[in-house]
């Protein structure tokens, strides 16, 4: 009989079942694999939506009002001088005027203080149409060189102002440093000169960490083409605050940079005389130069945008909150009503 064959199938029920339990492929239970972890999926009920909008409105509107009023209290005095500071007879060819090192570039401007300005009064220069963000300009600097003396030769990234014609490294190298702004201003009021404090106009971190105290200018502005100011070779870069301010490039073509601070109050209607050395060439590309005197408040300089933006958003939210409240009162509807689902709505439409 088949007893021999039978022995080859010699497994029995009991061992079968225990083996099955051992080999069970049943996935182990865990909240993660079963996707049962607690989750938060807030339902946008009318209450939540209305109170959120109302809250935003209530918070934003006061902030907006406060910043607007702060901005209103800032006194700002702007004077564009690039065109007027060119002598009348040279105005046809401004480029020739500015490029000629022999011409007298001194220019005197008189400004009336519109309102009382309390110290400190920030002095800025503003350039228009100057693309400090241009790719080839932004890249043309060597942070390593600025930081330490030992990296003086690291000028590869500074093209085309890396080395002099003789191959000597320029410190500080690059287009940015090369094009350093070199107009100067001196102020006087009531024939008494006003001191402009040029200390601490740069970021402390820049002075401490990015510009070395042992790095001195070398071979700077010695090439055929002068881009801007020269630097005193006996002062380390970390003390050259004008340079440090300039090297922090602006993101937009219209920008202000801090020139210094006047640390006396100016009275309203007081006349200030500014003697400008108009050296910087913005005429080659049609840029403007402006002198700006401004007080500051807790939101910085004169800037209405922030306040307006806060007011707009806050107002909108408040309006929406009101609208939803009205809608909720006059045309309420139950949450999760399936008859509003598109297919149900279509069916209803079909039967009507």
């Amino acid at each position: 009989m088949n007893s021999k064959a039978g022995s080859t199938f010699g497994s029995d029920g009991a061992t079968d079942s225990s083996a099955a339990r051992r080999n069970s492929k049943k996935p182990k239970y865990s909240k993660f694999t079963q996707q049962e972890l607690p989750a938060c999926k807030p339902l946008l009920t009318p209450g939540i939506v209305i109170s959120t909008f109302a809250l935003i409105g209530i918070i934003f509107i006061p902030i907006g009002l406060a910043s607007l009023s702060a901005s209103e209290h800032v006194v700002e005095l702007v004077d564009r001088y690039d065109a007027d500071c060119v002598p009348q007879h040279l105005r046809d060819d401004k480029l020739a005027f500015i490029q000629n090192s022999q011409t007298n570039k001194t220019c005197t401007r008189r400004l009336i203080v519109p309102k009382q300005m309390s110290s400190p009064i920030q002095v800025y220069y503003q350039l228009d149409n100057f693309y400090q963000n241009h790719r080839r300009y932004v890249k043309s600097r060597s942070d390593k060189q600025l930081k330490s003396k030992s990296s003086e030769r690291e000028t590869k990234t500074c093209e085309p102002e890396g080395t002099t014609g003789d191959g000597l490294a320029i410190v500080p190298c690059g287009l940015i440093a090369w094009s350093l702004f070199n107009d100067t201003y001196s102020f006087s009021a009531n024939s008494k000169s006003l001191q402009v404090n040029k200390k601490d106009i740069a970021w402390q971190s820049d002075k401490k960490h990015k510009f070395g105290s042992d790095v001195y200018p070398k071979n700077f502005q010695s090439g055929g083409l002068i881009g801007g100011a020269s630097l005193n070779a006996s002062i380390p870069l970390s003390e050259q605050e004008d340079l440090i301010v300039w090297m922090r490039t602006a993101a937009l073509p219209t920008f202000r940079k801090l020139y210094g601070r006047i640390e006396v109050d100016l009275e309203a209607n007081e006349e200030i005389t500014v003697v400008i050395q108009n050296n910087y060439n913005t005429y080659s590309f049609g840029g403007k130069k402006k002198l700006v005197l401004s007080t500051t408040s807790w939101i910085g300089g004169k800037n209405n945008f922030l306040g307006v933006a806060y007011l707009t958003v806050g107002g909108l939210c408040l309006f929406l909150a009101m609208g939803f409240i009205l809608l909720y009162v006059f045309k309420p509807r139950t949450l999760g009503d399936p008859s509003y689902l598109s297919w149900n709505r279509n069916a209803a439409g079909y039967s009507n």
Binding site: F9, Y29, N129, E159
Partner: protein, 977 residues
């Protein structure tokens, strides 16, 4: 053992029936699935994938249609038996170029040397990587370096490195398993001077080698059986490694080769088809030394990986080795389908790249304009400084003329805006899908306790399509139902016995039979009807009693089941396990055993049945296998009382045609009524009939049968004719009702899917009544539904019935708005329609202009039931819907006959069930139960789609936000002038 050694004790006619029976007797069984369609056909049509014969469910006609014919030389492979070098020479002579492959398998992709170039090549076949590479290369140009050179290469290098590492590890593992596999050894016949079976590692085995397998040995290659330990040439194999089916399958050695042993110089040439991946088809012939040709079919071949069971040894000749074996040819990955979301995303990506190009063009145009306007100022502008004065001679600094500068600006803009094209999103999506696949496979709700199977993601890229399914095409058997047949009731001699009750443990004693001091009992218990049992035991000589005995004898004898004796922990008790390819037959044999007709032993020549405690031996004189044309099988039995009887069982419609209506008309009537009842209960029915054969009749049949089974041409057809000739004027015994048990949770699952607005279509090979009854029992059909039934036998009739159906649909939908307006919830008041259509009608509808109308009707119906459909028709129906709508289709099935449908649908799901792994192999996802569709589609599918959708949208938004800020900055700065 009470066994009659001879049927006809007088010396005159037929051959003695003892342990050895002439081969021709059993030849028909060889032809059961032989004559496979030629390889080109089988490769193109999945329908040719064979399926185990199953009553009333599978159309096998096409397999039988092909007649035996010679293989043309150019399509053939020659194998010289026992002569591997000779085989290689023959291949060379035929101009086949390289000879047949060696048996060494190589699943590893790379060698040490080829790893780097090949792996890089494989990786860079993904567009995303090429894009990354281009961007990284652009970054290497000094003029363009935006992000720094190293930084741009780093991510790509990292991804490449990790992937390469993973590939290398996988390949290492493959190499290791290859080595293990290649170094296994089998017994191979040594060279001719001293032919002896010697162990030889698998990798050295070549085509033409003669290999001997011992019990439990796996076959090292695809081999044609030459002889086995069984004198009749039967060998049993288990093909679990190949198709997952755990039942034993019988393979046969040809009678012509059986007698000779290779040791005493066996010679012959096998001409077989070229290697192909059809594991159920094999077509070859064997030319013996005498010039005699023997045809070989799939039942003569043992495939690599099959284990020899229940047979002491088998000898075969290797015909396909190594990578040519069917199992290796079938080990390809899942078909690649593309998710609809991804297709959509690709379109958006294309749009985005146009957008990107436009942005870059705007940027470089504006730059060009600016350069032209300021042409003369460029040199003096502090922030531009065209000239470079350092280093002696004057040159331009990064300036190459306006055109070139504009071009460089363009490339630069491409780099700056590169993330506008979300190539990285493809990788993110892959990662997300991996996570989703992890969640799906780890979901305990998708784990099937009974088969110990987890959900399996075979295709990783269509997860989110699961949430978009609109149509489900489901197989019935094995998918909706368990394919575990359970004998429920029987009608014997016109009396219905359906009062079965569950077997109680006390009663178990009744089932066991005594062998020496041991008790043997069937492995599965079946509930019995006490009255029928009583009738069998007590009603000895009454007409009803005889009829019932005959009936159960027929059930026990008329089948192809092989009983196996299993050990139990109790040494006194053994289990009889009935192994066979048809679950119906298994159920019937278990039922017969439960009523006391225990099939104990089957060899090819005789069967031993324990008839109510009395062990009797019946000689099997002939067996006509089931085929789909006749829809019945029959067996001719020589009984112990020296009578010859024909037992036939088959589908009712085919059986009533061959039953002698002149006798016992009332029994036939009663049986018909009972059958109708069973059918409406959802039971599968089989009718059993018998006829006593007279001596002359038997002799006539025997000579015809022998002639047919030795015929070389059209053997199957001849055998069918012989069968039809003998199967007539039957005396009806009764009929059986077998319950095809529904899988757990099917009705609830279908209800949920329906509520979700998914249309469920059932495509089954079963007959219409069964399909409808299953439809009712799984709540697919309800009593309120209006059924439209289309059964037509010609094109015109089809057209007509379709038109009628259409008119009816329209009328009903006109009515329904009125019904609907009263209710808010959609559909509840509507008249619901169900379309029931059969395979015959589909023949006329599919592939013709009637398709359009069918689709029109089907889309109006809530339920569509297609019965008696062939595998290819299933695919045709899926295609019908897929090509006419934008809706996603899903096909679910478990059998080889569902493969075509699974591959055709947008999403194919394989049920890993009773019917092997063919469907799973072809599917995108596989799972254990139909009801898992509900959590899969409604939970995972929903989440997958929603999450993926959010991720893609968020990615697009994020990229746009990032890029457009840069873009507008560029514009603003320019406009500021």
């Amino acid at each position: 053992m009470a066994a009659n050694l001879g049927l006809f004790s007088d010396p005159s006619p037929p051959p003695p029936i003892s342990g050895h029976v002439p081969s021709s007797r059993r030849r028909p069984s060889h032809d059961r699935i032989s004559f496979a369609p030629d390889s080109s056909h089988s490769a193109s049509s999945p329908s040719a994938l064979g399926v185990p014969a199953r009553h009333g469910s599978r159309a096998e006609s096409e397999r039988l249609a092909a007649s035996q014919r010679d293989l043309p030389d150019e399509d053939a492979r020659l194998v010289v038996v026992g002569d591997a070098p000779g085989t290689a020479e023959a291949a060379a002579r035929l101009g086949l170029g390289v000879g047949p492959a060696g048996n060494a398998v190589r699943t590893g992709k790379y060698s040490v040397l080829s790893f780097l170039p090949r792996n890089l090549f494989e990786q860079f076949r993904r567009v995303a990587y090429v894009y990354f590479l281009v961007i990284a290369v652009l970054n290497q140009l000094p003029q363009l370096a935006v992000f720094g050179r190293g930084a741009s290469l780093l991510p790509l290098a990292f991804v490449l490195f990790v992937t390469a590492l993973k590939d290398a590890y996988e390949d290492f593992r493959r190499h290791r398993s290859d080595r293990l596999e290649n170094n296994r050894s089998s017994l191979v016949l040594g060279p001719s001077p001293l032919p002896r079976f010697l162990p030889k590692p698998w990798k050295r085995i070549r085509v033409g080698d003669v290999v001997k397998l011992l019990a439990d040995d796996p076959a090292p290659a695809d081999m044609v059986l030459l002889s086995t330990s069984d004198p009749t040439g039967v060998a049993y194999v288990r093909t679990t490694n190949l198709d997952g089916e755990s039942n034993l399958k019988s393979r046969y050695a040809k009678q012509e080769t059986l007698a000779r042993t290779p040791e005493d110089g066996f010679a012959g040439v096998i001409r077989c088809e070229r290697p192909n991946r059809n594991i159920y088809g094999f077509h070859a012939n064997l030319e013996l030394r005498g010039g005699r040709r023997v045809s070989l079919g799939p039942s003569n071949i043992v495939l690599r990986g099959c284990e020899l069971k229940n047979t002491a040894w088998a000898v075969g000749v290797v015909v396909y080795a190594g990578k040519d074996t069917k199992v290796m040819l079938n080990s390809s990955g899942a078909p690649s389908k593309r998710s609809r979301l991804e297709t959509r995303m690709n379109r958006e990506t294309l749009f985005l790249s146009v957008f990107l190009l436009a942005m870059c063009l705007i940027v470089c145009t504006l730059n060009g304009i600016w350069l032209v306007v300021h042409q003369n100022e460029l040199e003096l502008m502090q922030f531009f400084r065209k000239r470079d004065y350092s280093g002696g001679d004057e040159k331009n600094y990064n300036y190459y003329g306006i055109a070139m500068t504009v071009f460089i600006i363009f490339l630069m803009a491409v780099i700056v805006f590169q993330i506008m094209i979300p190539i990285s999103l493809y990788i993110s999506m892959e990662l997300v899908r991996l996570g989703q696949a992890y969640f799906m496979t780890r979901d305990t709700n998708l784990y099937d306790e009974s088969s110990n199977l987890r959900f399996q993601c075979r295709a990783l890229n269509i997860n989110e399509d699961l949430g978009q399914i609109k149509y489900i095409f489901s197989d019935k058997t094995g998918t909706l139902t368990e394919n575990k047949m359970e004998f429920q009731c029987a009608t014997v001699g016109g009396v219905d016995y359906s009062g079965g009750k569950a077997p109680s443990p006390i009663e178990t004693g009744f089932y066991s039979i005594v062998v020496g001091d041991q008790f043997w009992r069937p492995k599965m218990l079946v509930k019995t009807d006490p009255e029928l049992a009583k009738l069998l035991r007590n009603g000895g000589e009454t007409e009803e009693g005889k009829c019932a005995r005959e009936f159960f004898l027929a059930l026990a004898a008329c089948n192809t089941i092989v009983p196996l004796i299993l050990e139990t922990p109790d040494p006194k008790q053994k289990l009889i396990d009935y192994q066979g390819e048809s679950p119906d037959e298994q159920a019937l044999v278990y039922a017969a055993a439960a009523y006391g007709f225990v099939l104990v032993e089957r060899t090819s020549g005789y069967i031993v049945i324990d008839v109510l405690g009395d062990r009797q031996r019946f000689d099997v004189l002939g067996l006509h296998e089931f085929d789909s044309d006749r829809k019945r099988m029959s067996v001719i039995i020589g009984c112990p009382d020296k009578t010859v009887k024909l037992y036939v069982k088959g589908a009712d419609n085919s059986m009533f045609g061959v039953i002698d209506k002149s006798i016992n008309l009332d029994i036939i009537r009663a049986t018909e009524t009972h059958l109708h009842n069973y059918s409406s209960l959802g039971l599968r029915t089989l009718v059993v009939g018998t006829r006593k054969l007279s001596r002359t009749e038997f002799e006539e049949w025997q000579s015809a049968y022998e002639k047919a089974s030795t015929a070389l041409l059209g053997r199957a057809g001849l055998l069918r004719t012989v069968a039809t000739d003998i199967e007539r004027n039957l005396h009806i015994l009764g009929a059986t009702g077998i319950e095809d048990k529904l899988q757990k949770g099917v009705p609830e699952a279908i209800e949920s899917l329906r509520q979700a607005g998914i249309k469920v279509w059932v495509l089954t090979g079963d007959k219409q009544e069964t399909a409808i009854s299953i439809g009712y029992s799984c709540k697919l059909l309800t009593r309120e539904m209006t059924q439209i039934i289309i059964n037509s036998y010609s094109r015109e009739a089809c057209r007509k019935s379709l038109e009628d159906a259409m008119a009816m649909c329209n009328k009903l939908t006109e009515l329904s708005p009125m019904a609907q307006s009263s209710t808010t919830a959609a559909g509840s008041g509507r008249i619901r329609l169900a379309l029931i259509i059969d395979g015959n009608s589909l023949v006329y509808i599919l592939e013709t202009d009637l398709q359009e109308e069918l689709f029109g009707i089907a889309s109006k119906c809530d339920v569509v039931l297609c019965c008696r459909v062939a595998p290819l028709q299933k695919a045709g129906i899926v295609a019908l819907v897929k090509h006419r709508t934008d809706d996603m289709t899903l096909a679910i099935g478990d059998g080889a006959n569902d493969v075509s449908m699974i591959q055709m649908a947008d999403v194919g799901i394989g049920i890993s069930g009773q019917e092997g792994r063919q469907a799973v192999m072809a599917s995108d996802f596989s799972m254990g139960q139909f009801r898992f569709l509900v959590p899969l589609l409604l939970v995972h599918g929903h989440w997958n789609y929603q999450r993926m959708g959010y991720m893609i949208l968020y990615n697009f938004y994020k990229n746009a936000a990032f890029v457009l800020v840069l873009f507008w900055y560029m514009q603003l700065v320019h406009e500021d002038k």
